[in-house]
């Protein structure tokens, strides 16, 4: 697996979009893999009591998918420096989330790029938007 | 027999409620408070009122307000369609009513929980089979479904024909914010912005950024109109209605008149201006200040052309020369406008226009103000009024 060199990327470069089917498995297993045992992420009756149709994705899973989206592109030698996420509409089973991103800035001092990332689901629109700062070799 | 209504009627009382993102009260309460305070400002009693007029869009029945405020018998009531296009249409109605003796004291009002309740920016939708729904159906399937999107369509065309439009849009938005910064009643009191912040503000519909768009507001405004004769004995100097015009030009659609030979202009406002100038005998040179409807920054530019303050496509230069500033040729939207004071569908603008004539605006320009223009929303059937001191 190759890693992008800092010199080879420029502001405005787009990352390959990623489509993620949102399933009850992804939501509940993602919650457990991030040790988030809040019942609304694995118990449908609790989520329905909150007015949603089904369990919904926890924040740490959204963050994880955002991070994965960027390192899938950058390659494994890249070093993540920061991750900012703003949450929008919930992800619930049956949706598809499309994650897309673009290089918004380069920092020569740190050899890092800031990738602006959005994840939109096909039903309610914006699920997450934010940025990942990652240093490249 | 024809009568010229010029000089027959006057605005004698004005009031706004507080402007906020969440009034916490009903629209009936907002309207009642604005109406009550405007009557009190005139030095009149609720029982003096015998006419009421508002927007078809207003959710509150005039008789509900009349009951709440203690207004007695009504002999005149009416409503004007087309959203903000109705603003000075209320003055038009009131003036006709008092000039024809259908009523003696008419209250014009508009109140809405525009932020915490229904938001116009959320767009139009619905499946009711009305002529209106069929009209929107030519646009919404393509995504053209917010007021910003309809006005942006005219703006793109205007940018194609005129120079420096973006800079002029910034100047309009910026000078109005500067006025709001010193208006304690304004939503954006003490909240200035810079060109860099304007350029960086969120894209809404290209070519509009967030700071080109007004912010929806909860609030109410009201003005009281009576005969010029009765106005002489009241609390404040009478703000005489010298001319008022209303117009829907040929080939009009509500917000989407995209089928005229050229769309970078406002023919309805051209007609309203002509009518108002004719009635009043005034010319653009006689107008000292203006309140120009500003749901979006560029619509101020087109109206400056309609009212003859500059030639066609020359508004950007007029504005960039500083004309709208406190010491400029035409201090404009001195309350901060709807972009920065509050969005009460232009009726807060009538309140401010009356204050400019009285000499009591919070940002009263240093020069003498004899005559003030105030306009209604555009893109829809519209209008405008020329207000001033008695000769």
């Amino acid at each position: 697996m190759n890693t992008f060199n800092y010199a080879d990327v420029k502001v405005g470069d787009k990352l390959p979009a990623l489509e993620i089917p949102i399933t009850a498995s992804l939501i509940s297993c993602g919650a457990l893999a991030t040790r988030d045992f809040e019942p609304c992420h694995h118990d449908k009756s609790v989520a329905q009591g909150m007015g949603l149709t089904d369990v919904f994705m926890n924040i740490l899973t959204s963050q994880a998918l955002m991070a994965r989206f960027v390192t899938d592109w950058s390659g494994p030698e890249a070093v993540m420096k920061g991750l900012k996420v703003k949450l929008g509409a919930p992800n619930v089973p049956g949706m598809t989330m499309t994650v897309s991103g673009e290089i918004a800035a380069k920092d020569d001092a740190e050899n890092s790029v800031t990738v602006e990332v959005t994840g939109e689901n096909n039903i309610w629109g914006m699920h997450m938007s934010g940025s990942v700062r990652i240093a490249l070799p | 027999m024809t009568i010229n209504i010029s000089g027959e009627a006057a605005i004698v009382g004005v009031a706004n409620t507080e402007f906020s993102k969440n009034s916490g009260v009903s629209e009936l309460e907002l309207a009642s408070v604005a109406v009550r305070d405007a009557i009190a400002d005139a030095g009149l009693k609720p029982s003096d009122v015998d006419g009421m007029t508002t927007f078809t869009l207003d959710n509150t029945d005039e008789i509900e307000i009349a009951r709440a405020v203690g207004i007695g018998d009504l002999t005149f009531y009416s409503r004007i369609p087309h959203g903000g296009g109705a603003a000075t249409g209320l003055i038009h109605q009131a003036v006709m009513a008092v000039a024809s003796e259908m009523a003696e004291v008419v209250v014009c009002y508009r109140a809405l929980n525009g932020r915490s309740g229904h938001r116009y920016s959320s767009g139009v939708s619905g499946t009711l089979l009305t002529a209106d729904a069929i009209h929107w159906g030519w646009y919404t399937p393509y995504g053209l479904m917010t007021p910003a999107s309809w006005v942006a369509m005219y703006t793109q065309r205007y940018m194609h024909l005129a120079k420096d439009v973006q800079d002029a849009m910034f100047e309009v938005a910026h000078i109005q914010r500067e006025y709001a910064v010193t208006n304690p009643a304004a939503f954006f009191y003490e909240k200035p912005f810079t060109r860099a912040e304007y350029d960086a503000s969120r894209a809404i519909v290209s070519p509009f950024r967030m700071l080109d768009c007004c912010m929806e507001t909860d609030g109410g405004s009201a003005v009281v109109v009576t005969t010029a004769e009765r106005a002489k004995d009241l609390k404040h100097p009478a703000v005489i209605v010298k001319g008022v015009g209303q117009a829907a030009a040929a080939d009009m659609e509500s917000m989407t008149s995209f089928y005229r030979p050229e769309i970078a202009k406002i023919p309805s406002m051209d007609i309203a201006a002509k009518v108002a100038y004719q009635q009043s005998g005034l010319t653009p040179d006689d107008i000292d200040a203006a309140i120009i409807y500003d749901a979006f920054s560029p619509i101020v530019l087109w109206q400056l052309e309609s009212w003859g303050f500059c030639g066609e496509l020359e508004a950007p230069q007029f504005v960039l020369d500083g004309a709208l500033r406190p010491d400029g040729r035409l201090p404009t939207n001195t309350h901060g406008g709807q972009l920065s004071e509050g969005y009460i569908h232009g009726v807060n603008g009538i309140v401010e226009a009356a204050r400019l004539v009285r000499g009591t605006s919070v940002n009263q320009p240093a020069k003498d103000i004899k005559n003030v223009l105030v306009t209604s929303g555009v893109g829809v059937p519209t209008g405008g009024a020329l207000l001033g001191l008695a000769d």
């Binding site: 697996m1 993602g30 893999a33 991030t34 040790r35 988030d36 045992f37 809040e38 019942p39 694995h42 329905q48 009591g49 007015g51 149709t53 924040i59 899973t61 963050q63 994880a64 998918l65 955002m66 991070a67 994965r68 390192t71 899938d72 494994p76 030698e77 070093v79 993540m80 920061g82 991750l83 900012k84 996420v85 049956g94 096909n122 039903i123 629109g125 914006m126 | 932020r115 915490s116 767009g123 939708s125 499946t127 089979l129 069929i134 030519w138 646009y139 919404t140 399937p141 393509y142 995504g143 053209l144 942006a152 369509m153 793109q156 969120r202 809404i204 519909v205 290209s206 995209f258 089928y259």
Partner: protein
């Protein structure tokens, strides 16, 4: 709340600012370990060899595997007790319960900002120290009225080295009454489609033809004048007799906008809507697609075709004529 009650509530609320959430730095129950990293990577679909491929990692710049930085906050989480017994008391729970008691029972994580300084590796212990860093003034949002609070956490390892920090912002609000009283039911999610154009007597024929792939232009049978959008009478000669012709959909951009915000479910972005001059002499409003937005300009030659834009909707979509973009 009356103004007096609000003041009393806020006076007590703001005493939470600056309070530590845990009485002492909280140590993760387990040290950073390959089992939890593997489970996380599997679920997230993350195939990064830096996390799970020790052979690859040995030859990499780092020389060893690391934990995904985004797992930072996972290591110190409470665990299953949250579901079985409820979240154990701590400074944040105490404040949240204070909010709940005063009706601000809605809770929504809105923002998380993490900074990473050192990559954690298997065997590291993770310690978290957190405080309630700030509470906003009362805000009114689309969700309701409430307060944003922000926690600030520092994560260190067994050597006391700061590996990262986190700001976590939560909105506590008074939930709307309907949501609290109407639990949701099972049901398939309805995939949104474009706004439906209502069909009445004067326009149904036009949309029906569009569904069949044709764009028609109404024509006065008396004076032959074309008109669009359709209406029952000719404005030129007042005749109510009409037929129609089919447009070739050869056109030119007369004006256009790009829609950014708010985004509407069921629409594809970037989304450009144009007023289009058709060769027949009437105008139509439709989308321009098939090119970069920056290349669209007034006067651009375009050609339309009627396409299925979603499972329920047929619409004319216009493409640049070769050589006309750019």
């Amino acid at each position: 709340m009356t103004p007096e009650e609000k003041k009393a509530f806020e006076d007590e609320l703001y005493t939470y600012v600056g309070k530590a959430i845990y009485s002492a730095p909280r140590k993760g129950y387990d040290d950073v370990n390959t089992a939890m990293i593997r489970q996380w990577s599997e679920v997230m679909g993350d195939k990064n060899p830096a996390y799970n491929d020790s052979e690859w990692a040995a030859k990499s710049q780092r020389g060893h595997t690391i934990a995904p930085p985004a797992m930072m906050y996972a290591w110190t989480q409470e665990g299953y007790k949250v579901a079985s017994e409820g979240r154990p008391a701590d400074g944040q729970v105490e404040m949240v319960q204070f909010f709940d008691r005063h009706g601000f029972s809605g809770s929504l994580g809105t923002n998380v900002d993490q900074e990473y300084f050192v990559e954690a590796k298997p065997g590291d212990s993770i310690f978290e120290e957190s405080i309630i860093d700030s509470i906003s003034e009362q805000k009114s949002t689309a969700r309701g009225i409430g307060y944003f609070f922000e926690t600030y956490a520092k994560f260190t390892n067994q050597d006391g080295v700061l590996i990262g920090t986190q700001r976590f912002r939560v909105f506590k609000f008074i939930p709307p009454v309907e949501a609290a009283t109407a639990p949701a039911q099972d049901g398939a999610l309805e995939v949104p489609t474009r706004a439906v154009s209502p069909r009445g007597q004067d326009n149904k024929w036009w949309w029906d033809a569009c569904d069949e792939g044709k764009i028609l232009i109404q024509r006065c049978q008396n004076c032959q004048t074309l008109r669009h959008p359709p209406r029952p009478m000719c404005g030129e000669c007042q005749s109510t007799e009409w037929d129609s012709i089919e447009s070739t959909l050869d056109g030119e951009v007369y004006s256009f906008v790009e829609m950014h915000h708010p985004k509407f479910p069921g629409y594809q972005y970037p989304l450009v809507v144009a007023v289009i001059d058709l060769a027949e002499g009437t105008r139509i409003i439709a989308n321009v697609v098939g090119c970069e937005v920056k290349d669209i300009h007034i006067g651009m030659k375009i050609k339309g075709k009627v396409e299925q834009v979603d499972p329920k909707t047929m619409l004319p979509q216009f493409y640049p004529v070769a050589g006309s973009a750019a």
